[in-house]
Amino acid sequence: MSADLIPGGRDALVLRERAQPISGWAATATLAWRAMLKIKHVPFQLFDVTITPIMFTLLFTYMFGGALAGSPKVYIQFLLPGILVQTILFITVYTGVGLNTDIQKGLFDRFRSLPIWQPAPILGALAGDVFRYSVASTLIVVLGSILGFRPAGGIVGVLLAFGLVLIFAFAVSWIWIIFGMKVKTPESVMTTSFLFLMPLTFASNIFVGLETMPAWLQTVVRHNPVTHLTNATRGLMHGVPVGGEVLWVLSAAAVIVLVASPIALRLYHQER
């Protein structure tokens, strides 16, 4: 190698002595920056997860809208908040997939051998994910309004709904983080989590109202957390009071975080 020395004649290999270790927040922010860069370089990550909801919205609105609600225009008022919930829940899986990829590739070994606050790589990745959820949420609502979605709750209602969905998605991400650390390949994170997500999102009131289902199914669907989240999101967007459902969702999110995050962090420290 010819460029051994940098100007001044010092060898670049010896230039820097160790600096002061950075704080946990600074490390988390730096690793969140990494997540943003990844979105910039691999925009497909975002594209991938927004194409499905766009297709679902178009398909359900125009094909089933007439049959289910009398007209596509009426149906999309009902459907769109649910599609938002489904999309964001699906995207949460990528948290586990991304983490598993980092572990398999050996990148987490480097992070773990650095003198930084140990949870920072996970929290940084999560911060990037929450950003991704926000972008996808915005896309869906913009698409919805082009198709005639008119939320009665106005912009405030929509933003509150976003907030609630993001909080719940943040909580659910912790579950996939556990998956991401337990299974062998990113593909199996994907397969396993969809095994849970598919029935959860379809056996809910995202696409059709509870009252159209047989009684036994209503019981099941009523207890599905996705139904609670959909009710709350729908209510907030359309300005219908849903304080009880919002409270239910927030408590569920809190319980998930309290249970899953310590397990996830312990697994992270555990050796592989």
Binding site: D11, V14, L15, R16, E17, R18, R34, R110, S113
Partner: protein, 345 residues
Amino acid sequence: MTAIETASLVKTFGSTRALDGVDLSIREGSVYGILGPNGAGKTTAIRVLTTLLKPTSGRALVLGHDVAREPAAVRRKVSLTGQYASVDEDLTGHENLVLLSRLMGLARSDAKQRATELLDAFGLSDAAGKLVRTYSGGMRRRIDIAASLVTRPEILFLDEPTTGLDPRSRNQVWDLVRRIAAAGTTVLLTTQNLEEADRLAERLAVIDHGRVIAEGTSRDLKASVGSNTLHFHLRDPEQRAQAGALIEATPGGGLLPATDPAAFSIKVADAQVAAELLGALSRAGVQVTDFSLGSPSLDDVFFALTGRPAEAAQAGDDKPDKAKPSGARVGRGPTDDNAAKESAA
């Protein structure tokens, strides 16, 4: 002072004893090599010393800090370049180095400057803005090592730094390791390649099944093998029997199997014996087209130490579920390389 000191270090995974009582003492400021075949416990040793694994029993001190009790203190002083990619493929080379510089506590502008300096020093300036996933194997290795040097570590751990690299990239990595050591950093590297250990390391430990089976300078190790390998080709394969008879008459000459009827590989005690044998062949009218004398390979060292060849030992340690990069050589390389050089001279 001692950089690394281990005593009866044991690490088990289920019933596999990946480290089975390892005692090492590594001087500060040196390049130390851990030599062994796949699955011998090299990676496990490095992962314990860099706090990624907790020892099952025994003790490991890194710069005076116990790896089990003071992992944070150890992490502040060491850097690890693992056997696998340890930078983000979806980021550019420059972004990766800025990321690590920031994590090591450099301010934003310092981090950018440091990234640029390192890319220059590692001959990667042209690829600074390219995503790492587009890098060649040699470039990947260099950016991996650069990522460990954003600030100067007191000990740099390199896990098989040249496995899977072409000879040119391998030489570049060797050159880097020498410069890093010259800058005062202790380097601990693992390798399957005796020549690599020989060229870089002041001392080395040979490990097998989680135990240190030999320790010393590479000269000591080669002496313990007590033989070199002489290779030659006959002009006329018909003379094989005649050559065979002369080899049998050579003191300590052990004939090694060969598939080519014109080719011979023979264990000889030293260069003098080889010269005498070649002289005898010449006097008997047996012509050779070329010959070379190779120093012992890892295979030879292993055979001498354990009485069995250095096959990839049990699976079950050294990261069993991750695919090995291609080109995992056990020993063969060095013999041939040395042979080529000596026959050229």
